[in-house]
C-alpha cells in the first residue's frame, strides 16, 4: 500500500515549504503508529471519497466544502472497498489529496469558521501562539487520526504551525498548513487493521481497539468514530463482548446506519462506474446529466426504504414495486408522478408504487442497473448479464479472449440481425465466445425491454423483443421472470453477505471458516434482514482477526 507513500508525500510537502520560506518542517507523515504496542499491520484501507467527505463533515461541520476530484480507484473483485485496500496512491493522486486537504483547512481557519472550530484566540494573529495551537491540535488530532496522538505528534504539529506562523506573520496560516499535512498523512487517509498481543489470551492477537472502533464506525456509519466509540476503545470495553455489542447496537440503531447502507450498496452495485457512463444524446435525449445522479438515488432510496426503514427481506429488492421517483425519473419510465412543488423549486422524491405485474418492479429494472451496464448507443445483454453474475451473485466471469471481434454485436444496423438476441446468437456461433456468453446473455436478454438509457421498449429496429431468459437451467420471461429467478437463487443472499464483509474489511470472507458460516446462519434466521447481517458481521470475531493470506492475495490476482 504505502511503501512509497511517505517518500512521495515528502516530495509534496517539500514543494510547499519554499512557498512559506521554511526549510524543513516536522512531518506528520511518520509510519503508522498506535497508542498500544502494535505489532503488525494486517491490512490498510484507503478512505473512500464518500468516507472522506463524511469524516470531514463530522469533524469540521457540513459547511466545509470538499473541492477537487479524488483519484479514482478501480474496483477489485467487483468492490471498490477491495480496490481501496489493494491500490496504490499515485503521484497525481497524492497531489489531489494535497489540494483537497488545503482547500479544507483553508476553510477551517477562514474568518467564517475559525471562531467555531478553533476554540482559542491567539495572543496575536500576526505570529505564533504555541499554547493555542497545542489546544487545537490536541482536540482535533485524535479525531483525524481516530486515536490519541502521542506527545511527539502534537508537538510536531505545534512546531510546524509555529514556524509557518513566524515566517508568514499569520497564526492562522500556521494552523492551516500544519493541519493540511495531517490530512495527507496515512494516519488520516488510511484505516488500519493493526494487531497487538491479547493480554487476556497469551499467545494470541487482537485488533487494536482504536482500529476496531474505526472499522466499526466506517462499516456501520461510513464515517469516523464518534467520541463514544473512541471512549469505548480507550476504556477497553470495545474488547469485551458486552462492550462491542453495546456499540454495535447503538450504531445500528442510529439513522446514520442509512449512510453506510447507501455506501455499501453503491459499492456493491458498482455505482462508481457511472463516472464513465455516457449515452448518445441523439438516441437517448432523455438521458440528461440529472438522470445520472437521480438513477442512483432512486435505487439507493429504494434500498434504504426496504432495508433500513422496513427491515425487509433483502431478496425483495429484486421484486419490490415500491420505489421513489422524481418527475424526471417518472418521465424516463413513462409513468405519471404528481409533484405539486412550486414552480422553479427542485424536484422532490416521492414514493411510487408500481401496479402488480409492472415490468419496472425491482432494482434490476431500474435505470441504475440497465443504464450502467450498457454502452453509449445500445443496450448490452452481455454487460447486464455479466454484472448480475459478478456483482449480485458473486460469480466470476472470465475476461474475453484476445482478438475476438465484437463487430456483429455492436452493429445494430444489420437488417438481418435486428435484435440483440439475434446478434448475440450470431456471436455465440464462435465456440471461443459461446462458453462465457452462455453464462451472461440469458440473464441480460431478459432485460432487453430496457434500452441503453433505461427506457421501456417492446421493439428493437422494428422487430419484437423476445425477453426470454435463463438462470441455472430455469427458464423465465422478461424482467419480472428474471427478478423472481434471482430472488430464488441462494447465490444472491450468499453474495450480499460476502460483499458486506468485504465492504468492512477490504477482502472477501473465508467462506469455510465456521465464524463465517455463523454469520450466514444469522442472516438466514433474520429472514435476510440486511441490518441483521451487518450486526452479525460487526459482532463476529472474524471481522477483527487478521485475514488469511490467500484472502489478500486472491484480490491481487
Amino acid at each position: 500500500m504505502n511503501g512509497n507513500y511517505s517518500g512521495r508525500l515528502s516530495i509534496v510537502i517539500a514543494g510547499v515549504l519554499p512557498l512559506v520560506g521554511v526549510a524543513a518542517l516536522p512531518s506528520a507523515v511518520a509510519a503508522p503508529t498506535s497508542s498500544a504496542a502494535a505489532t503488525e499491520i494486517a491490512t490498510s484501507l484507503r478512505l473512500s471519497p464518500l468516507q472522506y467527505k463524511h469524516t470531514i463533515a463530522d469533524i469540521f461541520g457540513d459547511s466545509i466544502k470538499i473541492e477537487g476530484d479524488f483519484e479514482p480507484v478501480q474496483p477489485v473483485q467487483g468492490m471498490q472497498a477491495i480496490g481501496e485496500r489493494t491500490s496504490n496512491i499515485t503521484d497525481s493522486g497524492l497531489e489531489a489529496y494535497d489540494e483537497i486537504a488545503r482547500g479544507v483547512t483553508a476553510q477551517v481557519v477562514d474568518p467564517r469558521h475559525r471562531a467555531e472550530l478553533i476554540h482559542c484566540k491567539p495572543l496575536s494573529e500576526m505570529g505564533r501562539d504555541d499554547a493555542c495551537a497545542r489546544s487545537f491540535f490536541a482536540r482535533v488530532g485524535p479525531l483525524l487520526y481516530r486515536r490519541p496522538l502521542t506527545e511527539d505528534e502534537v508537538q510536531d504539529r505545534v512546531q510546524a504551525a509555529g514556524m509557518i506562523a513566524d515566517r508568514l506573520h499569520d497564526f492562522y496560516s500556521g494552523i492551516h498548513l500544519s493541519l493540511a499535512e495531517m490530512l495527507i498523512s496515512p494516519e488520516f487517509l488510511f484505516r488500519y487493521k493493526r494487531m497487538e498481543p491479547d493480554p487476556a489470551h497469551p499467545g494470541q492477537e487482537r485488533m487494536d481497539p482504536y482500529d476496531k472502533a474505526t472499522e466499526l464506525s466506517y462499516f456501520l456509519w461510513d464515517t469516523t468514530p464518534d467520541p463514544q466509540l473512541l471512549d469505548a476503545a480507550r476504556s477497553g470495553s470495545l474488547n469485551t463482548r458486552a462492550g462491542l455489542d453495546k456499540q454495535v447496537n447503538r450504531l445500528i440503531g442510529s439513522p446514520r446506519v442509512a449512510d453506510a447502507v447507501r455506501a455499501f450498496f453503491s459499492d456493491m452495485l458498482g455505482f462508481s462506474g457511472f463516472e464513465a457512463v455516457s449515452k448518445d444524446a441523439n438516441s437517448f435525449p432523455r438521458y440528461t446529466p440529472a438522470i445520472i445522479a437521480e438513477a442512483q438515488e432512486q435505487t439507493l432510496r429504494t434500498i434504504v426504504d426496504l432495508v433500513v426503514n422496513r427491515h425487509g427481506d433483502y431478496r425483495d429488492l429484486f421484486t419490490t414495486p415500491h420505489t421513489f421517483l422524481t418527475r424526471d425519473m417518472a418521465a424516463l419510465y413513462g409513468v405519471p408522478l404528481v409533484d405539486t412543488t412550486d414552480n422553479g423549486q427542485p424536484q422532490r422524491w416521492l414514493p411510487y408504487t408500481y401496479p402488480p405485474g409492472d415490468p419496472r418492479a425491482g432494482i434490476l429494472s431500474e435505470a441504475s442497473f440497465t443504464e450502467l451496464w450498457s454502452p453509449s448507443g445500445r443496450s448490452s445483454a452481455t454487460g447486464r448479464g455479466k454484472a448480475l453474475q459478478e456483482q449480485l451473485l458473486c460469480k466470476q466471469i472470465p475476461p474475453p479472449p484476445p482478438n475476438v471481434s465484437f463487430f456483429v454485436v455492436n452493429d445494430t444496423t444489420n437488417p438481418n440481425l435486428k435484435t440483440a438476441r439475434a446478434r448475440l446468437a450470431e456471436h455465440r456461433a464462435n465456440p471461443v465466445c459461446a462458453g462465457c456468453h452462455r453464462l451472461m446473455d440469458p440473464l441480460g436478454l431478459a432485460l432487453e425491454n430496457f434500452d441503453s438509457a433505461g427506457e421501456y421498449r417492446t421493439e428493437e429496429n422494428g422487430a419484437p423483443i423476445d425477453a426470454t431468459g435463463e438462470l441455472g437451467g430455469h427458464k423465465f420471461y422478461g424482467p419480472q421472470g428474471l427478478s423472481k429467478a434471482v430472488y430464488d437463487d441462494p447465490a444472491a443472499t450468499n453474495c450480499v453477505a460476502q460483499r458486506a464483509f468485504a465492504f468492512e474489511t477490504g477482502y472477501m470472507p473465508p467462506t469455510k471458516d465456521a465464524r463465517w458460516q455463523q454469520i450466514q446462519q444469522k442472516f438466514v434466521a433474520s429472514h435476510y434482514d440486511v441490518l441483521e447481517l451487518l450486526r452479525a458481521i460487526a459482532e463476529s470475531d472474524l471481522s477483527y482477526s487478521p485475514p488469511e493470506p490467500n484472502a489478500l492475495t486472491a484480490a491481487n490476482r
Binding site: 435525449p285 440528461t288 421513489f324 413513462g334 405519471p336 408522478l337 405539486t340 414514493p351 411510487y352 409492472d358
Partner: protein
Amino acid sequence: MGRPCVVLTQGMQALRQDRLEPRLYKKCGVRTMKRDLMLSCAAMRRRCGLAPAVIAALSAIVSLAGYCAPASAETRGYVISWFATATNNPDWAVNCPEAAKDPKNRDFTEHMEPDGFGDKALVNGKPAPPLDYPDALTIDPDVEAVVGKYAYGFDLGGREADKFIDPETHQKVDDQLWRAVGCTQNFRMTPPAMPYLEGQAWTAGYADNAPAWTMQISGADLNKDGPVTVTLDRALSHLERDALGGFRSDVTYVIDPSLRSHNVLTGEIKNGVLWVKSGSLWMEGTLPWYLQVDLQDTHMRMRSEPGGDLQGYWGGYTDWHIWAYMYTSRCIVADCVGTYRSLEKLADYDPDPVTGKNRKISVTWRMEAMPAFLATVDGKIVAPALSAALGGKLQPSWLPTGPTVASDGDARTGTKGGATR
C-alpha cells in the same frame, strides 16, 4: 373539492371579456371571487341557486363542454412546447419586395434616432419620445406590408382583399398580423426557429421558468374522426429540458387550479386533423414573453406527428395592443414604432364605437405540443401521455387508476411515506 363547473369557467372567461350577463355575475358572486378560486358544480348550484338543468342549459348556451360534461372515452395529455407567431417565408422577395431590395430598410430602431422620428411625436404640442407615445407620431412610418399570397391561418370572414392562401389547406385565410409584421427582419424565420424576439424570450426566459400550458384532448376514439373537446390550462411548473436542449415528453404536469387560463373548446377530428372552431380563448403568459394570449373566434388545426407530438396552428382575432406590448416591450433590433403603427393600420376587427378604429387583428400562431401526463392538484391523473417513447400505446398497468400524489403518503397504496427531498 369537486370538478369546477363549466358555467363558472365560462363566467371567468366572460368576465375577462366583459361578456357575462350582469345578472349572472351578481347571482353567482363572480365579482367577489378571488382569481384562483375554483368551485365545484355542487357549490355552483348552491351559490347561484341554479338547478342542474339550468347549468346544463347555460353550458349549452356558451357552446362549450367542460368538467361537468360526462367523461370522454379517451383523453390524451399534452404540454405546449413551441408557440410563436406563424411565419411563412418561402420567398422574401415575393413577400416583401421593398425589404428584399434593402434588407436594412426600416429595421431596428431608426425611428428613435434624431434623424428618424425622434421629433415627430407630439404630445400637447411638445415633442415626445415616439416609443413612449407611438400614437402621437405625426407621420406614417410606412412599414412595408406583406404582399405575398401565402400565409398560414383560418378563414375568419375578413375582407376578401385581405385574404392570404394557406399553403397547407389552400383555403383563403385572414392573418393581418402577418401582413403587418412579416416584412421585418424579426419575422424572417422559418420553424423550428421562432421569430427572433419571441424566440429569444421563449428560450431565455419563458420556457425554463414560467408555468407551461397544458392541453387535454378528449373524444370517443381519438384514432378516428369524430367530435372532440380540447381543454387548455396552465400548469404549476415549467417545461423540462432533455439532453439535446429540447423538451421532454411524458413529464407529469399539475394543472393550476386557477381558472384564469382554463379554456374548454369543442372541435372534431376530420381526416386525421383536429379542427377547432369555437368561442374565445385566454391564456396567461409571463413577461418577457407574451403576458397573455387572447383569441376571439378561435380556430385551431393540429395533427399528430409520428413521435406522438402535435403540430398545428391557432388563429382568430387578438387585441393588437396586447400583441404590440409583447413585441415592443423589449424594443431591440426592431422597428417598434413602425410595427405598432402598422398593426394599428391593418387591424381588421372589433371597431371601437367611439373612434371607429379596429381593436383586434386577425392572427395565426404556430404551436407544437408533446405528450404529457396531466394531473390535478389532488393527485388525480386526468390525461395520460401517449408518446412514441411508450411504444405509442399505454401499458395497461400504467393507465391512470387514481391519485398518485403522495404528499402525506402513497395514496395509491395507502402506505406511509411522505415526500422527501
